[in-house]
Amino acid sequence: MLEISNLSKTYPGGDEALKGVSTTISGNEIVAMIGPSGAGKSTFVRCINRLTEPTSGTVTLDDIDITSLSKKELRTARRDIGMVFQEYNLIERLTVMENVLSGRLGYVSNLAAFRRKFPEDDVRQARQTLDRVGLLKHESDRVDELSGGQRQRVGIARAILQNPKIILADEPTSSLDPETSGNVLNLLTEIAVDEDIPVLINIHELDLALEYADRLIGLNSGEVVFRGPPSDFDESVEGTIYRGEEPGRVTDPNGQDTDTTTQVSTNIEK
């Protein structure tokens, strides 16, 4: 279970990217963090495993306070947090198999990793995972020979190999076309169920978020402005999150403000 309490990040230039964000993520739920560009979604996700150091607040994973760990302890803790990136961040010149196995780097000794001698169980799991994401026959291909969708699946396989307690996905579909994006999110959903771990996705494609998430966190200017399932999402919510409007008001096409508290919320389909 991931507990985030009052997480804040202020960059050296004075930019307050996060202003006290709190949430709890548990079970095998898919949580989508949505919001406009610059809302702080990426900062939030990166602060969880301290790729970006938070200024204040705590992040606790299964009773371990990640924010207070030393560099060395942090490495051990990061093994439990798998991460998938927008630009895949695979080692281009290495093969698919080497990239997937690199998920085990937190577990193997320096010498073994240097000689690329991973335990047989790890290799077996790597093959099994590759089969699951549909890339087993590409095991020996160099990553730069693959398409974007294939690369992201390798990235997901790498995260799975860590046997993590949670998977963080930082805009995993932004570089992909709509169909491939759907495939990737399907995959993440399956994994959440199969491995029984939660997945936190930072995503700006609203339609995908509404389709795949169990619940949403809406972020605007570093603050949480909405929490709830996709079924609670309507135009006023969209206004709150993306245009910083007051909660409960909606701007109709003529620019008039109307009070929607008595209106039935409608699902937006795009």
Partner: protein, 269 residues
């Protein structure tokens, strides 16, 4: 609507705007002036300069045919030249790796190491390998040891500079991804940095190797080992056939070393 068309072409077309043309003209002028002044400063007599090609081809003529019998005598020094080049380059590469690392602004631990790295690079590169040889011959005595150290010290700066530039160009996202798996600094280096700089590394190493083979052939002129000594003595005794033999031998070594370099470069890209 009037006479619009006739006003459009009021200015002639030029390839560059006025400012660029003035700059280019100034640059050409400076170059021409510098050239003239330099030529005057050298104080070379024109008639002598004109006849230079004649004197050169005359000397070249006297070098033919090469003294084949001399080949046996120079095999030892030739081998020594190769030894110096190999050891010097390997030593330089080993020492250049950490220096390159601390001289790249994305991998250097702190500001002090960065400045130190840049200083080492600058210092090593500013002094020609022959001058290092002058120095090390005094320190280690004449012989190949001085040669090896000279080659190594000069090559560190060259290699580390290019290597640090390659390191600065890596995709840091890949480094972050490996960092996020919980890997320690050594494994982050091996898995995310090394694969990205490997092609550049091989290219830089072979480039420097090529230069060092040539440098090793002249170190003997200042007593730092290699075939330079034989070259000097042959010249001093006007044994032109032997001089040509030595030059052909050097050419042979260079050709072989370039083939080896090309092999490694091809393998890695």
């Amino acid at each position: 609507m009037g006479g619009g068309l006739s006003e459009i072409n009021s200015e002639d077309w030029h390839l560059h705007n006025r400012r660029t043309r003035i700059l280019r003209f100034a640059a050409l002028l400076i170059t021409a002036v510098l050239l003239l002044v330099s030529w005057q400063a050298l104080g070379v007599r024109y008639d002598y300069a004109i006849s230079a090609p004649v004197y050169l081809s005359d000397l070249l003529g006297r070098m033919f045919p090469p003294n084949a019998g001399y080949t046996g005598e120079i095999l030892g020094p030739l081998l020594e030249t190769v030894h110096i080049a190999i050891l010097g380059t390997i030593l330089a590469i080993l020492m250049a790796l950490p220096v390159a690392f601390i001289s790249a602004h994305n991998t250097t631990p702190n500001k002090i190491t960065y400045v130190l790295g840049k200083f080492i690079i600058s210092f090593s590169r500013s002094v020609n390998v022959i001058i290092w040889a002058l120095f090390f011959v005094i320190v280690f005595g004449p012989g190949a040891l001085a040669g090896v150290v000279s080659v190594a010290v000069r090559s560190i700066g060259f290699t580390a500079k290019l290597l640090s530039e390659a390191i600065e160009e890596i995709d840091f996202g890949q480094v972050e991804a490996i960092d996020a798996t919980g890997a320690g600094p050594f494994l982050i280096l091996i898995y995310s940095i090394v694969p990205q700089v490997k092609p550049a590394f091989v290219s830089i190493a072979t480039y420097r190797w090529d230069i060092n083979v040539r440098a090793a052939s002249v170190l003997g002129l200042v007593g730092a080992g290699g075939i330079g000594v034989e070259l000097q003595t042959s010249v001093n005794s006007y044994a032109w056939g032997s001089v040509l033999t030595i030059m052909l031998a050097i050419l042979g070594v260079v050709i072989i070393s370039e083939l080896v370099s090309a092999y490694f470069r091809k393998k890695v890209s």
